[in-house]
């Protein structure tokens, strides 16, 4: 392959996400223009109101509040989900003791938690964080468990006969071998944390979900759409950050 051709392919690869997003706006515009979405605002009214909204301090504080609602519980979900997943995946006794009760909690939808967290937690902010925590926690936990269970026994044997004890087997084999699956869990968990966040922020005093809800009650339709786009963009960016960090740590698995 010539370098020229290589550069063209690079450029094409770089440009594709923009083509995808431009196509999204185009389809949106055409649907509105054809009158298929009733009173739903098109891209241009939304852009016009976005210019005003962008300068609004309420939007800024909403974004900052939502990022806190996401990232603080997310870090807790990683710190608890990964070690617990390794323990459950590696040790049958821990699995038998923990897994059934976790499986009862897992299918409960975020909305169903709302009355409970209002009753249990002292502030709504902590309640919201608990719900986003659950969104991130279960994908991280389940992927970690699956990653640990798929480890080839021979790697464990290899480290055992080099003199490795139980904790060294976990550090040198189990954790790194499960890392690609854990990474998948981290990406999925970030996405679900955002989904749960928006549900949870219906009861919040602040946050981007709240911003959309308030825009709805004041019939400011362009701002609803703008808020939803911001949620989408922040969620996408958050998942990309997790993906990027993971890919840097997982170079060996791409070779």
């Amino acid at each position: 392959m010539s370098t020229q051709q290589g550069r063209q392919i690079d450029l094409f690869k770089w440009i594709k996400p923009f083509v995808s997003i431009a196509g999204f706006f185009l389809v949106w515009y055409l649907l509105v223009d054809a009158g298929l979405l009733e009173s739903f605002p098109g891209p241009f009214p939304v852009a016009a109101s976005a210019v005003d909204a962008w300068a609004d301090p309420l939007l800024h504080s909403s974004i900052i509040a939502s990022l806190q609602h996401i990232y603080i519980p997310y870090l807790f979900a990683v710190a608890i989900g990964v070690p617990l997943g390794i323990a459950i995946g590696w040790n049958q006794i821990v699995n038998d003791l923990m897994f059934p009760s976790l499986e009862i909690l897992r299918p409960v939808p975020p909305i169903a938690w709302l009355p409970i967290v209002i009753l249990v937690f002292p502030t709504t902010t902590i309640g919201i964080m608990f719900i986003t925590f659950l969104g991130a926690f279960f994908p991280i936990l389940l992927n970690t468990i699956a990653g640990v269970r798929s480890i080839e026994e021979d790697y464990v044997k290899a480290v055992r006969c080099l003199g490795g004890d139980r904790s060294q087997v976990i550090r040198e084999v189990v954790a790194p071998a499960a890392l690609p699956a854990i990474h998948t869990g981290l990406i999925v968990g970030m996405g679900l944390a955002w989904i749960n966040l928006i549900a949870a922020e219906m009861i919040a005093d602040e946050g981007i979900g709240r911003y959309v809800w308030v825009s709805y009650t004041s019939s400011n339709y362009p701002n609803i759409v703008f808020g939803v786009l911001i949620i989408g963009a922040l969620g996408y960016a958050s998942s990309e950050i997790v993906r990027w960090i993971g890919n840097r740590r997982l170079q060996w698995s791409n070779k």
Partner: protein, 273 residues
Amino acid sequence: MSNKNQLASSSSVTSDSKKGSIQMQDLTKIYDPDGEHVKALEEIDLTIEAGEFVSLVGPSGCGKSTLLNCIAGFIEPTYGQLYVDGDRVDGPGADRGVVFQENRLLPWKTIRENVNLGPKMRGEIEEDRAEELLAQMGIQGTGDQYPTELSGGMQQRAEIARLLANDPPIMLMDEPFSALDALTKEIMQELLLDIWEEDNRTVVFITHDVEEAIFLADRVLIMTAGPGEIKKSIDVDIERPRDLDVTTTPHFNELKEEALSYIVEEAREAMEG
């Protein structure tokens, strides 16, 4: 887990204190899937001297790997005794290094990190030791690469380097060269003999290649299938150091025919029975 490694490193002073002898008495392994007894090993009595190179040959399913896994400590015998240097084997340990058929370098570590793994886990990495071993194995300069970037033969060299970094008195090798092409295989056999002649570790080498078994070993043990027993022990009285030229001598052929006759007889019995 026993820690005979420290003993091993100071043991080369006199031959009396040499480490790496293996003793088996009535060693039996019964697998019990669905309540159906399958005897993989039946009452094996065997002594392997420290520093001896022993090959185990036999048809597939004869329990060779089970025997090796028992010595390695991966499998617990159903009954019978297994001792290494007089100590009962109780789980795997750094005194018994294993080279697997499919190499088991950790793919998330570089070659150097793999070679240093044993010393690292004991907290005693020696600077430059990894480079020395890689050079000895003929793959110097690969330390920063990941295992999947190397060819099969080079990976197997790296795996042996990782084992040597641990300096175990016993090397257990389970068909280590069977996945390699013929030429690479011959090179690896000579390399293995070079290493072995240097520090005379005990080697238990599993293969289904009779020629390979005779070329490498002091003693070839022929195993029978179902239940696994040692049918015959053939002493290989070919002078060392050996190179591949000995495989064309009449004496080598006599040994090979003797070994093959037992194996063929065994295979025939197995088919008829």
